[in-house]
Subunit: 607 residues, 2 copies
């Protein structure tokens, strides 16, 4: 097993281009938009331990992710207003912590007698998110106040779960605390943290399903010991938070058995259960994985949080096993499945990320309360279960986290983001307009004698590099022989047509269009045709034009479409079908539904 | 408006071929299989007015349709056992009729205080089916005993609904009594029957929706006066029973306004809301129509009863307006949407008739109680709502009803069934193997001076006729100049490929295969390929071989299918997709799922 070190995002300065723009929107707009919505819905008021209407047992986690996001933002530049919010929140958490260390708004205000009794009540999940926030605050400001507060809570959890074992369940219904404890252990290496995380992983399968729970134990990934799991099942966010914790355990404990499980679980998702956008969890029922290759486009669940969680898992795996598929997955999520979750202006969100919208389906059944379950088509400013917005803010604020790994001999560059970073003593300046084009300039000052590994993305069929290299598991390995090395990597970008393997029923006979890591879609808004009737002409010359509005290129193609006719006939002889050629405008998938609801499609028939 | 007379099936002798075989199975097997299941479920025991478990307010209608079927069967050949059952049932109905004429098992045994109070409780619907049974018994045996019993009930209905107007609703929640009253009026022309039918039609829109009902008033077709309706809405069986009654009213009252509504409603279904199999009511939600061209194949509801009801409506329309589309629709239903409802051995049934089955979809969500709503894939011997089986038995027993119309100048032949019939004094002998092939021999003895109109099916692109003719609205009109005329009609049958118009999203880029009136499907059982991956080669030479098992030809074609490959990749460059050619075996749609559940598909991609 590899033990590469992940470079923290605090060591990376995003300078310009695609992600600097996204971070600016995140810092200036999104973090406050989420805060406003959390105030509107009473989440911030609940911090005063008032019985706010709608107070839910997962509100602590929403607040914690917001807190983590705020800390991640100030880590890259001071912001007095955010700092004040952070201080205020930590004050309130401290003020309302029980004498025994316990802290949970819902289970103090609403159900104080039901603590640690219902496995699906997210108390440990909320603690996990608070721990992640505490680590972010510590990294951003050096203050370990929240860590110390939570340390008392962790002691109480150890007492109740490990020592007295008098709780209503053994392990969390929603995983998260495991990865959080390992994250805490990385900055405060107390043995009790890793022991508790391992305890939850080791005993996970011993819990029975809550009697009143409608799903089976696969929903919770409790159906078998985690080290024996090979198939991704159940709630896809839960699953990937668990797998992230498992990968952490594999690394910390040097647990090859756990790594083998992680490897298989990653492959099961990556090769059998992932939309071309990176979306996972294809069914809204249980927000869950189903069977291999079951990837319906119009009913796709593909929760934003699931894409984030899959990226988190992959980001751990990339440091345990040098293989470019892990960073490929991260890239797919960054530019598609995650990013589609937030609007271009940073103010509204998608929880679900379908790959096809047919608005008329929504009018089929006059009475919507009886309509079949279809994803929402309009970006919303807030939703009841609001896990995704603050997950997006922390993901974007910490995007630098996905760029570099290193050990004593190697520096590994996974993602091409315009930036400066200090990696194990070497100053690396990266200039690029990626993903608008594939030209990457690198200036590496320092690191002489080490090997620099540059990921060649899976989507890239041809590339050039101005220095000698050898390929290693999808990375171009360059020996750094000088004090300063100038590199130019040209990743050839062109419009690509992708097919799904034949087992994917819903994409049979169809293509998706891609440009670099970006998957494209067509919206009815731009195309005055029945989208389902378009057959893309894969032999026509695409026109690719950069769009400021979308922050990436648009693509124009030709398509064959049936002529409409005056006959009433519903069915007609095939030979009477006549075609005409029309232009089709494609935009990045992540930008769909930014100009209102519209029919939308990723997979097209083709000629 | 035309006023053609429909020849009753009692005047038609089905002699051989496709339908003689089906009638034999119906008489020997199906009628008794349905009786056995109705006994198992307590329906027959309920005739003794016992509080049988599960006793439902629609059971009278199930029993009535069985009674009607039994009468229709004995009309074409004596059967002592069936006659005894009929007598016994009529005895019981008479014995349990209230002094005031009322008769309903559920509302006597279970809810006697709730009579005529809940519009959705099917009392008038049940009466309608009893009236249809009474007419069938009268036609089969000459006995009007059940008519006399029901005449007292009808008087009571008139008293309560029309005179006192003291009932909880004005018009039936489930239409049926209207067409039944017109059917009764045709054999017993009492003015009160037609007045009551017209009353229910005229006042239909005045009822408000039951307060506790989850659907809107479109579900009941009560949203506007029937003469103003132009769009088929709501529950598709209810709708077509209503439209049948409306067509009867148009004829009896010479009501052009009503005919205009019927014409528009027919066209709305026929040109916008009908599967290629004739199935209507595409959504299981409300078993209802949705928006135009919304015809999903895998979730198709397309209830067997809805196809029967549409055929009943069309069979009325064909006599009000000479246009072959009406009999074309009847034919489509006869050979596809209706017939798929019963197994080849006559023992098991489909309520829903999907056009695509992907069995794996059923395993997607481990816990079936939470699975998305998909049609059942296995033919069942009985279901809770068992309207379809006895609807099929009466449809098949009375299939001759759809063959001929006539008036003083014309004899119109709509359906090509091997038979002898006396039509207004002319003896017509029809010999054919239709739909195995398109050769029809006719010997017409009598009818000299009249015009014989032979329907040229809409599916038929070329035909020959051995006598002079002129075309009239889809019919070849032949002057009968001799005492005996011998005609040979050759309807060219060949494998046809059909496309749906471009507005039908779910069929975009696909073809259906047809042979004469038969629509075909492929079952996984016969094709060792992923059905969704087949692209039919529409230029390959089809092989058509008659199958005794299916009672119709099988079709073999070539198809392009992707090669499978060893790579793990879920998505791959389009240019790496390789194809191979495989044979595809297609069977008549009506015969699907006769050899167990299997993946099945009607619409294919094609080259």
């Amino acid at each position: 097993m590899e033990h590469l070190n992940k470079l923290p995002f605090t060591a990376v300065e995003i300078c310009g281009g695609f992600w600097a723009n996204r971070q600016k929107i995140n810092r200036e707009t999104t973090i406050w938009a989420v805060k406003d919505r959390f105030e509107d819905t009473g989440r911030f008021a609940a911090l005063d331990f008032k019985p706010v209407p709608g107070l839910h047992f997962f509100w602590d986690s929403d607040l914690a992710k917001w807190l983590e996001s705020a800390a991640d933002i100030i880590a890259k530049g001071p912001d007095e207003a955010l700092q004040a919010e952070i201080d205020d929140m930590v004050d309130k958490i401290e003020a309302h912590q029980d004498a025994n260390g316990y802290y949970n708004i819902f289970h103090t205000v609403i159900e104080p007698d039901n603590r640690f009794n219902n496995r699906d009540h997210h108390e440990l999940y909320c603690l996990g998110h608070l721990i992640e926030a505490a680590v972010s605050i510590f990294q951003a400001t050096g203050s370990d106040r929240l860590i110390r507060i939570l340390d008392r809570y962790i002691d109480y959890v150890i007492e109740r779960f490990c020592e007295k074992a008098d709780t209503g369940f053994k392990t969390p219904g929603h995983e998260e605390i495991e990865l959080a404890l390992y994250k805490l252990y990385a900055v405060k290496p107390e043995e009790k943290y890793r022991r508790l995380a391992k305890f939850f992983l080791d005993h996970r399968h011993e819990d029975s399903v809550p009697a009143d729970f409608w799903c089976g134990d696969t929903y919770f990934q409790s159906h078998q010991p985690v080290r024996e799991q090979r198939i991704a099942v159940g709630h896809s966010v839960r699953a990937n938070y668990l797998y992230s914790g498992m990968a952490d355990e594999a690394r910390v404990e040097n647990d090859e058995e756990m790594l083998a499980a992680c490897r298989a679980l990653f492959d099961d998702m990556y090769y059998k259960k992932m939309y071309v956008t990176g979306g996972i969890g294809s069914s809204h029922i249980g927000e869950a994985f189903t069977v291999p290759y079951d990837l319906p486009n119009d009913t796709a669940y593909a929760e934003t949080c699931a894409s984030i969680a899959f990226a988190m898992f992959a980001n751990r795996m990339k440091d345990l096993e040098l293989h470019s598929k892990y960073a490929d997955l991260v890239e797919t999520e960054m530019y598609n499945g995650v990013l589609s979750g937030v609007s271009l202006n940073g103010k509204s969100f998608f929880y679900e990320n379908p790959l096809e919208i047919n608005l008329e389906d929504r009018t089929r059944h006059g009475d919507t309360k009886n309509s079949e379950r279809l994803p929402i088509t309009e970006r919303l400013e807030v939703f009841g279960c609001s896990c995704c917005p603050p997950n997006l803010t922390r993901f974007i604020a910490s995007i630098g986290e996905y760029m570099y790994s290193y050990d004593e001999n190697r520096i590994v560059l996974h993602q091409y983001i315009d930036s400066e970073a200090v990696v194990d003593g070497a100053l690396i300046t990266l200039e690029t307009a990626y993903p608008a084009n594939g030209t990457v300039h690198l200036n590496v000052a320092g690191g002489k004698g080490k090997t620099l590994l540059l990921r060649i993305p899976g989507w890239c069929e041809h590339f050039t590099l101005n220095v000698p290299y050898v390929m290693q598991n999808g990375y171009a390995a360059v020996e750094l022989k000088e004090e300063v090395t100038e590199l130019t990597l040209e990743l050839e970008m062109k419009v690509r047509f992708l097919a799904a393997r034949r087992e994917v029923r819903h994409d049979a006979g169809r293509v998706a269009v891609a440009w670099g890591p970006l998957v494209y879609c067509a919206e009815k808004k731009d195309n005055d045709e029945l989208l389902w009737d378009l057959s893309l002409d894969t032999h026509s010359e695409p026109v690719v034009v950069y769009s400021d509005y979308f922050g990436a290129p648009e693509i124009s193609l030709k398509a064959k479409v049936r002529e409409s006719f005056d006959l009433k006939a519903l069915y007609l002889p095939l030979r009477d079908v006549k075609y005409t050629t029309v232009p089709v405008r494609l935009i990045p998938y992540y930008a769909f539904a930014n100009r209102g609801s519209s029919d939308m499609r990723v997979w097209f028939r083709y000629i």
